[in-house]
Symmetry: C2
Subunit: 244 residues, 2 copies
């Protein structure tokens, strides 16, 4: 499985992906699931993928191909993030249809994508693209999307995240979401790829890879466990009627 | 859907179940999923159910029928919790087989059960019974089971719960697990049924029903959100390399 999470907030965007792929528990590999494209000073586009690895790689392959062969349209020439999402969505749909025309069987080849970024003089956008090629867009009310093993890490986002949260705090929030998921589900695994984008910077961040021995990540994960344990002890004691 | 959680700890057992059932989002009902049986001073048996409601009710119906008609064996006459789990497991298996012999189709009628309790002069036991009628047993290493929508509420249990934790703290821990699940998934819903059993008491607790306006539950849920928000702010700030 996979866990990818992307936030579109007032100050910028945060993208985090794990790198574990598995075809059975005895066939585990590390594959990057976070891809960056862009033109410094003009646009940044980030794609995260969850699902069938062959489908993911085919979609990314087509996108890169279009750029290398200077085919039009491509994700660096299109004028809006909406058009970029449409192109990526239709590419995804075609890739799956190429494997099989049987719509029931297609579900074996599904993949979901998060596509976020910014084009000069436009707002940042974040899309959640479904295997059918259609998509939804993040808003101020729902400023984040998750794909893959999303449930373990959802409560912390639902409780703490808001559109106005400063980027560094939102980054900590989403790292904790990953720490909780890693702890509870072995199909999500290290290293993690992290990318933080500051609104209107139009720079292509290098991103950071977090490995098993990352001291910052291990520190906040440990500190978080201690916080929860201490927090539980400090909650008011249940009333007598709970024990009747 | 459903969320049920049961803990078997040093000092006793905690059982919590939600009550929401749904056949589509426009067909939501309240059904109790936590059942208590026993003989005060001799045994307590608690059953929690997740899955097909007709299957659940048929299993409970058969168990009650056996008791009313004084059929042997029944869950109040068997000598060990293991035998009780075997009887409930085989009843579950038969109920599903009665609906259809087609093993593929049987999955539509699946239900999972948690069965916990204590018989005089024996240890407390907690079993997770699968639709196939077989089961696993909670241990000191893994002192809890969940059935239904288990993922949202798993991280807090994995991070904080231990076999040695005092009962009132374990109760708070599992209530927070429910609060997080309720917040992130509408298919799990109030009221909740809670039951706490003190080891060797051999009493049949009344249990408590937590409704939407329960002030204790709402207080700890609110306090927990504040704790997490404050905790995030207090985590060390990510190093510069996260923002490159």
């Amino acid at each position: 499985m996979t866990y990818c999470c992307a936030l579109r907030l007032e100050q910028g965007m945060v993208f985090i992906s794990d790198t574990r792929t598995n075809a059975g528990v005895d066939h585990i590999s590390v594959f990057r699931k976070l891809y960056t494209f862009g033109i410094p000073g003009e646009r940044l586009i980030v794609i995260q993928a969850s699902g069938n690895l062959a489908t993911t790689q085919a979609v990314i392959g087509h996108i890169k191909n279009q750029l290398e062969l200077r085919q039009e349209p491509n994700i660096l020439s299109l004028h809006t993030m909406f058009d970029v999402a449409e192109l990526i969505g239709s590419t995804l749909k075609k890739v799956i249809e190429n494997v099989t025309a049987d719509t029931m069987e297609q579900s074996n080849y599904y993949c979901s994508l998060l596509v976020g970024g910014q084009i000069k003089d436009q707002d940042m956008q974040l899309y959640n693209i479904y295997p059918q090629g259609n998509f939804i867009c993040a808003t101020r009310d729902t400023p984040y999307f998750q794909i893959g093993e999303s449930k373990y890490g959802k409560p912390i986002l639902d409780r703490a995240l808001s559109f106005e949260m400063p980027l560094d705090e939102a980054l900590r929030c989403s790292l904790i979401s990953f720490a909780s998921t890693l702890r509870s589900n072995v199909s999500v695994g290290m290293p993690l790829d992290v990318l933080v984008y500051h609104r209107d910077s139009l720079e292509l961040p290098q991103g950071k890879r977090i490995s098993e021995d990352d001291s910052y990540f291990n520190t906040i994960s440990r500190q978080w466990s201690e916080l929860l344990k201490k927090g539980l002890q400090e909650l008011p004691i249940p009333t007598e009627e709970y024990f009747n």
